[in-house]
């Protein structure tokens, strides 16, 4: 019989290989994302303008449109994948996603406030009014949840029920705004709620990247403790994990991450729910790998969605939020139905 410790090391190696494959796939898909667009550019032209940007149309198209779009797809997808994974872990619920606690409803309401009433919370350049409003309200939602948790204890039941209540509250407020909105404002809200990468910019991508990297590092340092959370609250406590403060900490990271991700692109569903599950099926529950895997998987799904949104209707950009679900669900169902392994 082979040594079981060696067998474990082999499993670990296999996981590194999966992560490497994810990385390769992500890079390939990102490159496809750079190539596809209304203006035909060859891979060589794109590479050339990436390496040495000039003042020509190609460089403008690549640097102003294609690159921000491509980076935003990878980064927002990654952020949603990671946020979904951590929500599922701290709520101990496979159905949790970054939006379970009503963050998307808060963000939607914040965005609608800007569109309908022109109300904004901080004076910023016009490009950032809607994102900042969305961010502030989604973050406010998280603070409300944390307050509920503080009063009633940070159990998964309290957090989920509190989240549902807050979610409905913001949804009805949003409906109220929609009722009074002008036709143009209503259209803008609906389009925002679909989720779209069209307003991507390099600055926005940089902001998402900084937050994503910071949160990833902070979570990786706690990866064993987060894995132990899955053993149940009491067991984790007996292993020396301060369960309550770990939950609050993760909730705070996830809130910032989700808020930053969706404030620029709107509500993109499905990625945050499914990316962690696909990563879990391939990499297991060990968060050292699952954290990185969920990010890469989320990035892959959204990148694929971004490619599809540019190709489905020629000459137009289909809302990516619709695509991710249509594209991802069959694949996810295939994994659930065909796989022999447990997925939770």
């Amino acid at each position: 019989m082979t040594d079981i410790a060696d067998a474990y090391s082999k499993i670990v190696q296999k996981r590194f290989l999966f992560i490497f494959l994810f990385l390769v796939l992500s890079s390939l898909l990102s490159f496809v994302n750079l190539i596809i667009g209304p203006i035909k550019l060859s891979p060589f032209e794109i590479l050339q303008s990436l390496i040495s940007p000039r003042e020509d149309t190609t460089s403008i198209v690549v640097w102003e449109y294609r690159l921000p779009w491509t980076l935003m797809a990878v980064l927002v997808g990654g952020a949603l994948g990671l946020a979904g994974l951590q929500m599922q872990t701290i709520l101990n619920n496979p159905l949790a996603s970054p939006y379970t606690l009503g963050i998307s409803s808060g963000a939607g309401f914040g965005a609608a406030l800007a569109y309908v009433l022109g109300i904004y919370v901080i004076a910023v350049p016009s490009e950032f009014i809607v994102p900042i409003n969305a961010f502030v309200f989604s973050f406010l939602t998280c603070m409300l949840i944390l307050t509920i948790g503080k009063i009633r204890g940070f159990t998964s039941e309290t957090l989920i029920l509190g989240g549902i209540a807050i979610s409905f509250m913001f949804q009805s407020l949003l409906a109220l705004l929609q009722y009074y909105a002008s036709e143009e404002a209503l259209q803008a809200i609906v389009f925002w709620l679909f989720g779209s990468l069209t307003k991507a910019s390099l600055l926005k991508a940089q902001i998402v990247a900084v937050v994503l990297i910071a949160v990833t590092i902070l979570l990786l340092f706690r990866s064993w403790k987060i894995t132990a959370l899955r053993l149940g609250e009491e067991k984790a406590k007996s292993l020396g994990v301060d369960v309550e403060s770990l939950r609050v900490e993760i909730l705070l990271y996830v809130s910032i991450l989700t808020s930053v991700a969706i404030c620029f692109v709107g509500v993109i569903g499905f990625v945050g729910l499914v990316a962690p599950h696909i990563a879990r099926i391939l990499l297991g529950e060990d968060q050292r790998f699952l954290i990185v895997g969920s990010i890469l998987c989320g990035g892959l799904i959204l990148s694929a969605g971004a490619v599809a949104s540019k190709t489905i209707v020629p000459g137009a950009i289909f809302p990516i939020g619709i695509i991710t679900s249509m594209l991802g669900i069959p694949f996810f169902l295939f994994l659930v139905l065909k796989g022999r392994r447990e997925i939770w």
Binding site: A5, Y8, S9, R230, R341, E342
Partner: protein, 263 residues
């Protein structure tokens, strides 16, 4: 070797209601101390207090005469709760490895891998090592959880009803194993049990808890007496002994009025 000593431990979830009304006993290294008593007597609560998951209202838990902090307690105590969940997508090896959480860093050390391997081998779980825990039977899962508790090389082992959902063979196998490790490694093992016959067979000391107090404490022979069990469980029992073991046969529940007379 660590002696566990409880002195006048009191606990209540709210200020008016006391579940534990002053519990004192001692658990020695190399011995199994069984805590028995009716449902709701506070047995599980007591284990959580020893594991420092709950804080007593008053009283103290001493380890070798010292009042340890939560972190210090975590290092020497291994606690197996009654409600246990292992995520189905964790392999047996990983589940056991998680038991070494306080020692784990991003890169798993060779020493940790060795200890996990040895524990798995000792518990004869090698053939399951690469399997997912969702693919195991109830008995095998419990073995994994015991491996997870032992892999921390504890000085004190706290087990909350470790055999309650298992068949006879698994019950005996697991308790034999706990007995073996307790003796060999000189662990102070405190185990909550419902089955008095198993407590009589495996425990060196039995502590009967009733109404938040220690009703009796000592070896099986001195503790498991009909009048004590009638008072604590409100059940008429027949006690016999063979092969040096005490056997408890429950006969019938006693009416409440009889109990109040006896008590």
């Amino acid at each position: 070797m660590v002696v566990v000593e409880l002195k006048e431990v009191k606990f209540g979830y709210n200020s008016s209601d006391e579940i534990l009304k002053g519990i004192s006993f001692r658990a020695n290294p190399g011995e199994i101390t069984a805590i028995v008593g009716p449902n709701g007597a506070g047995k599980s609560t007591l284990l959580k207090i020893i594991a420092k998951i709950l804080k007593p209202k008053s009283g103290i838990v001493l380890f070798d005469g010292k009042n340890l902090s939560k972190e210090e307690t975590t290092k020497i105590v291994s606690y197996l709760p009654q409600e246990n969940s292992i995520p189905g997508i964790l392999t047996v090896f990983e589940a056991v490895l998680l038991g070494r959480l306080p020692h784990l860093s991003w890169r798993v050390k060779k020493e940790d891998l060795k200890i996990v391997r040895n524990t798995i081998t000792e518990l004869r779980l090698e053939k399951y090592a690469e399997r997912y825990t969702s693919q195991l039977s109830g008995g095998e899962k419990q073995m994994v959880l015991i491996a997870q508790a032992l892999v921390r090389e504890p000085k004190v082992l706290l087990l909350d009803e470790p055999v309650s959902n298992l068949d006879m063979r698994n019950q005996l196998e697991i308790l034999e194993l706990i007995k073996k490790f307790t003796k060999e490694r000189k662990i102070s093992t405190i185990v909550v049990l419902h089955d008095l016959n198993l407590a009589a067979k495996y425990a060196d000391k039995i502590v009967i808890i009733s109404n938040g107090k220690v009703r009796a404490c000592g070896d099986a022979k001195s503790v498991l007496r009909p009048e004590v069990l009638a008072e604590v469980y409100e059940v008429e029992v027949n006690i016999s002994s063979s092969d040096g073991n005490i056997h408890v046969l429950p006969l019938r529940p006693l009416s409440r009025s009889f109990c109040s007379e006896v008590c």
